[in-house]
Amino acid sequence: MELFFMTLTTGIMVGGIYALVALGWVLIYKCSGALNLAMGEMTLIGAYVSLSFYSMGVPFLLALLFSLVIGFALGVLTERIFLDRLIGEPVLTVIMVTVGLSFFFKGTVEFLWGTDTRVFDPPVFSIEPIRIGPLVIGQVYLWSFVAAIILLCVFVCFFKYTRWGLAMQATADDEMAALSVGVSARYVYAAAWAIAFMAAGVGGTLLGNINGLNISVGYLGLLVLPAVVLGGLNSIPGAIVGGIIIGILQNFCGAYLDRYFPGGVKEIAPFAFMAVFLLFKPYGLWGWERIERV
């Protein structure tokens, strides 16, 4: 029973981070209708940037802030250089540009930072676990979860209550109508990429804190794809719920199935689950069902 609750809490906490990354992903999808396959590499870039600042002696929070700023700049830049010209092109084109971007980012990261695992040294969060009743939670998980939740709240409030957020929602809903009432789609796209980059960067930093940072953290960034699909591609609450479900599922598979199928059950379980899930609910939990006509 103890194992059950331990797994559950760890799952929820990791799931919070996935939700944060998934948020950025849904945002890009909602605004531009494109699948961003460079998400994993975007988490990597943010994580490496904050790691570099941190190892230079900058305090962690400040390093995180710097990575947010750089993420913002890179997001805007990426959108301006690569994606701005593609407004109105077929969606496959945009997806493939993000594939190209993912290669470009990955190559650059490997070139600049190497492929060895690097850790945040000295550790940002103390190793001493926190006990709440019978539960033992690593501080890394707890604080990451808290940070993820805070950022999630900030982003959701941003969408609900600010002018920019409303403009983004409007563009997502109906690009033509938004344009005709004076919302600039180009700025909205740029903002979507910037926010996605920032969210991915924070998510990557938190994930890197847990197990050290190497290229495979980018793979963890890809794990948000099942999360997003589970929630439905264009639903922000769906992304959050999906992220947490995937986190829990992953940890449960790691805890209970690993002894029957030794090896990487933990890594592939979300994908396997997603492939089966899509057979029964092709649009995820809260995705928009598209009604098609000839």
Partner: protein, 366 residues
């Protein structure tokens, strides 16, 4: 896409001419010249380094052909094709190493050719299995299920289980002399080259002929609009799964062929990177064109080799450049895809068609 026009003054007079492979005498001469170059010129003109580069090109063509069929002709975006290459390679290897072949077949050198066919069927079946969701989902959701194929097959089943068979650890090595086609033992680049060129011609012929058949027209209809295809009476699910089967089949051939060059395989030969690379190849070559597959493969492999050659002289001053060349290659590939998508979205094949049209229509090009 561009249509290639016939030169001035060439007209068809019956259906047989219109369906002909090589429609004018000039094209026929060109193709015969191409065959001579492929079978005689290149093998005797190239040193073993360039031969291995050409083999790489051939492998990329075989791999990308299935992707082209799925994405370019059937509209089913797949990002997990390396998994089916891996299934082919592993099936063939395991058959050669573990299967108790009758002595007669080994003596005649039929074990490897037979294993290629079995491997191809096997990966065709795997491909259909992961194509099943395409009956219900499409677009992004399908991309994700094909990604699942990559992670489940390569990162889980093959890495954790298949590569443990026989207690060999991660890498299977094929002892010399086991890969034998008829009386020839495939042991140097030249023989691999000949096998490659035969397989490539065979597979391209199969795919092109399939595209001229009922199945091919059904695929194109599904690609263009699957709902109207269904309205027209095409069994959409059947033809989608058929496309997945054929793509997997050719992927299996590619994988089983490549073990003859590698002599040892491990799951690292089939990463997700390779799936994306194959998609990138057809995008650069041109989606929806068999020429595009070939041009894209040649471009990607040869240009990357040239990049490496270009970097060589700088190696003394900047040793990091050569050391991390793999990463530079990756980044350059990414940029190439982006640039092609932005500036040349129809790929190299489109440009090629335009060049041909320029000459065909000259001097009345309006």
């Amino acid at each position: 896409m561009s249509t290639t026009f016939l030169p001035c003054g060439v007209y068809h007079q019956n259906y047989a001419q219109e369906h002909g492979w090589w429609q004018t005498r000039f094209i026929k001469a060109k193709m015969i010249l191409l065959f001579v170059v492929l079978f005689v010129g290149i093998p005797f003109g190239a040193d073993s380094y360039w031969l291995s580069v050409y083999n790489q090109v051939g492998y990329t063509i075989l791999g990308a052909l299935g992707v082209q069929l799925l994405i370019g002709f059937c509209g089913q975006v797949t990002l997990g094709h390396a998994a089916f290459l891996a299934v082919g390679a592993y099936t063939s290897t395991l058959l050669i190493l573990e299967f108790p072949w009758p002595q007669l077949l080994i003596k005649w050198g039929l074990a490897y050719p037979l294993s290629i066919i079995i491997a191809a069927v096997m990966s065709g079946i795997c491909s259909v299995l992961f194509g099943l969701p395409s009956a219900r989902v499409k677009g992004f959701y399908l991309i994700l299920t094909t990604m699942a194929a990559q992670f489940i097959i390569v990162d889980f089943i093959i890495t954790q289980y298949v590569s443990q068979i026989g207690g060999r650890g991660q890498a299977f090595s094929l002892p010399p002399g086991t890969i034998k086609v008829g009386p020839w033992v495939i042991d140097n680049d030249l023989k691999v080259y000949y096998m490659m060129i035969v397989l490539v011609i065979l597979c391209v012929t199969i795919v092109v002929n399939l595209l001229r058949s009922r199945a091919g027209r059904a695929w194109v209809a599904i690609r263009d609009n699957d709902i109207s295809a269904e309205v027209m009476g095409i069994n959409v699910v059947k033809y989608k799964l058929l496309a997945f089967f054929v793509a997997g089949f050719i992927g299996g051939i590619a994988g089983a062929f490549w073990i003859s060059n590698l002599a040892a395989i491990s799951p690292e030969h089939f990463p997700w990177f390779w799936s994306l690379w194959l998609v990138g190849v057809i995008l650069i070559g041109g989606v929806g064109s068999i020429h595009g597959t070939i041009f894209g493969s040649i471009f990607m492999v040869v240009v990357m080799e040239l990049l490496q050659l270009g970097i060589m002289p700088l190696a003394d001053t900047y040793p990091k450049l050569l050391m991390d060349f793999l990463f530079i290659k990756e980044a350059a590939f990414g940029l190439a895809i982006c640039a092609f998508m932005i500036f040349e979205p129809y790929g190299l094949a489109y440009r090629w068609g335009q060049i041909k049209n320029y000459f065909n229509l000259w001097p009345f090009s309006y």
